[in-house]
Symmetry: C2
Subunit: 237 residues, 2 copies
């Protein structure tokens, strides 16, 4: 936890918060509480500052917060569109994208995505919300990403993707037999498409290409989805 992420209902008085949930346990057990100790803190959706321990027990901590004045880090100008990863990978990709500053994340169906993935409990709101909080606390950000789920490929690719593409400077997708990531994409407003294990099908590639997406490669090696996402984002941000 590199930032204590606060919500309105943590406040018990103006400038004073009381926490007793997962965040408290992490402060108590890992970061260690001491009276007067100061932590980096931020308001969900707002600014960043610090919180100072006023009192604590084994069950809760009360902290004083000065008005938060620092803005959160700049968001990445990248919309991530990712074929829904297998359940054990989904939170890793989500975490990676959020900690790298992505604020718009689409999970879509694709031919090589197993239908059962859409039923997984990892997609439930509560599990996703928890991962978002962990990721924001990790990277020191306060702004929630927007997450969209589309379990039908065609309507997404034909109707929604062209709108995302039109709103960006470029759209790119990873493909083993493409050229390297062009340097002049760095820092642009981009849509990044990340395929499933095994890649987008030829039909899917054609659809995205026709809608104005460019194929790029990270080289010959096939990376796990979470590392491919990290590597492509790093090349583009």
């Amino acid at each position: 936890m590199n930032l204590l992420l606060l919500k309105d209902n943590d406040f018990i008085a103006p400038g004073r918060v009381k926490i007793s949930d997962r965040r408290f346990l992490q402060l108590r057990d890992i970061i260690k509480l001491e009276n007067g100790k100061t932590f980096r803190a931020g308001m969900t959706g707002g600014n960043i500052g610090s919180a100072t321990v006023a009192e604590f027990t084994g069950e809760y901590a009360v902290m004083d917060v000065a008005p938060f004045t620092l803005p959160p880090p700049e968001p990445a100008k990248i919309t991530l569109v990712c074929a829904l990863p297998r359940p054990q990978t989904f939170h890793k990709v989500l975490h990676c994208a959020i900690t790298m500053g992505v604020k718009k994340i689409w999970f879509i169906h694709s031919r090589k995505v197993e239908k059962s993935y859409w039923q997984s409990s990892v997609l439930q709101d509560e599990a996703v919300d928890r991962e978002i909080q962990l990721a924001l606390e990790q990277c020191g950000d306060t702004i929630y990403p927007e997450i969209f789920y589309r379990n039908r490929f065609k309507p997404f690719a034909e109707d929604e993707f062209p709108l995302l593409r039109a709103d960006a400077d470029a759209a790119i997708f990873g493909h083993p037999r493409a050229s390297e990531v062009p340097e002049n994409f760095t820092g642009k407003r981009l849509v990044l498409l990340v395929g499933p294990e095994g890649g987008f099908s030829d039909y899917e590639v054609e659809l995205f290409s026709n809608a104005g997406a460019t194929a790029v490669t990270l080289g010959q090696r096939v990376l796990r989805t979470e590392f491919a996402t990290a590597a492509l984002l790093a090349k583009l941000i």
Copy 2:
């Protein structure tokens, strides 16, 4: 598994292998075996080609292999020096580095590395060997990395790091208050230092800086070690 990684003792006759271990289970349960089905395969430490299923049962598969003629992918020209991550992160970092083509990986002590990490079972040869195989199978490579462990910081930093530095075009380390990764480092022979959660101490930073390492940043956000490694490698390869 994107490549079936074979060893000498898999051969039961010239051009014929029999496998019944973890690799077999993966082919049987995930990739699905069929007579005549062909898989990408490679010799550990050697070339890449294909293997064709000749017969299989629920217990083993026999496959015919033509002589392997394709060389493995080019190694990355980067030596990774990573403060030993916590046990649950160690294999992720190892996997990431291997799949991104790093062939020399040093795990070193650093002030913010807990001493207990050095006793973890994840460092045992067998566990490491398994992760190396999984990573090579994932990325489609056959060349084992060399892995070095140094559980004392000072002798490494003072005696060994300068030699690594002298052997490379540049050495860099991640630091929150530095400039962005210079573009002209891409593709060079590099030493990449990745700090522990919480970063290298001021003393450690000074030692590496004095020995010719340059501080770079990935931005304001603090990434998990495995994603910081992926992102820095992607910027540099």
